[in-house]
């Protein structure tokens, strides 16, 4: 009977403020239910009702997240979840990348004869999982959100059912992703045993109460959780799955994975990291321990990602390796975070800029892809500037941005990131990252050379450009240039988000 007394009625009712604070999640949930019904009906046409509901839901969610950016942090569901600026900042990244992905996929799915309404549903579910990941304060809730996101994405990766590559990629991703989730969960179980709670903030309180040293159980548990996260963000030595999965997945989904999934994994990683007191409160020995793990992983990730990307001729695979190298830069920001005065703001800014430029690049690949995602080799890009001048121009902007050349988002983000690393006195790390970034210029500019300086080839790729995809590309070009020319506003937003942690 004791347990019954602990149910407090105030936990079972919602106040008005709480409902407002979770309104983005309510929008998404309501929209998914509506979309399921619309998908089951299939009366008018298989694509339009679900597509429009998905788009409307995501736009409503984006607007409410944007309006909530200035609200005070609010802890919900008895400390399992928090709605703060940080969560809303990342919600915006997830929902905008889903909008762009949905818009780019419309024509692509028609061309591949795989226009099933479930595609948009799965997209909505995975966005829901990402949003919960960025706002969860409990390792078990985090695990459930992670699985909600991953399970939807496993299916999306294998969405081209008749294509062997897609199936193999989905299977590979499923096995390795499932193993990583299980490792993370086992780590959470050990942390629960060591601290007596699965809540991240309770863990921090427990560590601060016993400063004389942490138990080996705690160290092992946090190791396993860190390994799980490093796998999800695909840093070396846990990167082996990534190029294969990115190559096999449908092109718009690859874009979604490089931006949404990566941002979600980093959002949760940072929250666990900061809340578990990486910056303050942890024992000194444990802190240097974690610092060393991340340092080695960051250097390996940057070097391996960039060097292997040099030799790739398939654009999807090249962007997969470049995605690995960008993970390395982000890890540099994670290391510098607690030691510099910017905190983790550079990481948040980098994730936004990376999302803008990478999504744009993948929408272009989606437009150019022929059936079964062939025709994405470098020589297929030859003379693109004559066939599709605007697409070639946009691709050039994204490539320059990824290489980090000034008037683009990539430069602003990299500058801010390396500046904070210098403040944290990580000079060797900055030197390595700048050298790696110099290597990367070669393979990004090679795409430009092919597009502008080679004669056109007969390419099987799509001749007409869908208006939705063109809109998405234009929006991403605008965002990339906007962050590059006037980074001020985005920097302020990122800083506010990180302070609210």
């Amino acid at each position: 009977m004791e347990a019954l007394n602990t149910i407090r009625p105030e936990l079972l009712t919602f106040s008005r403020e709480q409902i407002v604070a979770i309104s983005p999640y309510i929008w998404l949930f309501g929209g998914s239910v509506l979309a399921i019904v619309a998908a089951a009906l299939r009366v008018i046409s298989p694509k339009w009702p679900v597509f429009l509901i998905t788009l409307a839901t995501l736009i409503a969610g984006t607007i409410s997240s944007f309006l909530l950016m200035s609200n005070e942090p609010m802890v919900l569901f008895s400390g399992k979840m928090v709605a703060d600026v940080y969560a809303n900042f990342f919600n915006l990244i997830f929902m905008i990348s889903a909008i762009v992905t949905a818009m780019a996929s419309l024509r692509y799915l028609d061309d591949g004869k795989i226009q099933h309404p479930e595609y948009y549903l799965l997209l909505l579910f995975s966005v829901m999982g990402m949003m919960l990941m960025a706002s969860s304060l409990d390792l078990v809730v985090l695990f459930i959100a992670l699985e909600l996101m991953s399970l939807s994405v496993y299916v999306l990766v294998g969405f081209r059912r008749t294509d062997r590559r897609s199936n193999e990629a989905a299977m590979k991703y499923f096995i390795l992703g499932g193993a990583a989730s299980a490792i993370l969960l086992y780590g959470a179980a050990l942390l629960y045993g060591a601290t007596g709670s699965t809540g991240i903030r309770d863990m921090l309180a427990f560590i601060q109460k016993s400063p004389e040293g942490v138990s080996p159980l705690f160290v092992l548990g946090s190791w396993l959780v860190v390994i799980g996260f490093l796998f999800k963000v695909a840093s070396v030595p846990f990167h082996m799955w990534m190029p294969d999965v990115y190559e096999g997945a449908p092109a718009p989904i690859t874009g979604f994975m490089t931006t949404g999934l990566k941002a979600a994994a980093f959002a949760a990683f940072m929250r666990v990291f900061v809340s578990a007191g990486y910056g303050a409160g942890l024992a000194e020995s444990l802190r240097t321990h974690l610092h060393d793990i991340l340092w080695i992983s960051a250097v390996l990730t940057m070097v391996v990602g960039n060097v292997i990307a040099l030799t790739q001729t398939n654009l999807k695979r090249m962007l997969a390796y470049s995605s690995i190298s960008h993970t390395g830069y982000l890890l540099v920001g994670m290391i510098a975070g607690p030691l510099s005065e910017q905190g983790y703001a550079p990481v948040a800014l980098y994730l936004v800029s990376y999302a803008a430029m990478n999504l744009g690049a993948f929408v272009i690949l989606t437009i150019l892809a022929a059936k079964d995602d062939s025709g994405l080799n470098l020589h297929d890009m030859s003379g693109l500037s004559r066939r599709h001048p605007w697409i070639a121009f946009s691709m050039a902007v994204f490539m320059l941005s990824m290489a980090g050349i000034p008037p683009t988002a990539g430069f602003a983000a990299k500058y801010y990131l390396f500046y904070s690393a210098i403040q944290a006195r990580e000079v060797p790390l900055v030197v390595i990252s700048v050298l790696c970034s110099a290597i990367s210029v070669y393979y990004y500019l090679r795409v430009l050379v092919y597009m502008y300086m080679r004669d056109p080839v007969e390419s099987p790729s799509g001749q007409r450009v869908s208006i939705w995809a063109a809109l998405a590309v234009a929006a991403m070009v605008a965002l990339t240039l906007q962050i590059g020319v006037l980074p001020e506003r985005m920097v302020t937003a990122a800083r506010k988000a990180v302070i609210s942690l």
Binding site: N167, A170, K172, A179, L185, Y186, Y192, G248
Partner: protein, 102 residues
Amino acid sequence: MNYVQPWVILAFSAIIFFIGFAGILVRRNILVVLMCIELMLNAANLTFVTFSKQLHHMGGQMSVFFIITVAAAESAIGLGLVVAMFRTLRSVDTDDIQLLRE
């Protein structure tokens, strides 16, 4: 009344976890690999329950329900992917997954 000591169960679940992990690395049949993933998740479940009993804290036992549900969803999707792969590949052997390695 003889109770089993908590550390025995913890050691047992750690062993199960590593059997599962080794199985993923070593076994070649995808269905067995799926079972190994389940094994790892169940090892985590056992650990949660043991710690919950040891700490007199209900949170751990509650988590197990959620984890079981997630594991069920995961195996449903895993089997679906295996079926889809079998249709194009005519095999459930991980050695045959090599198209992307070229």
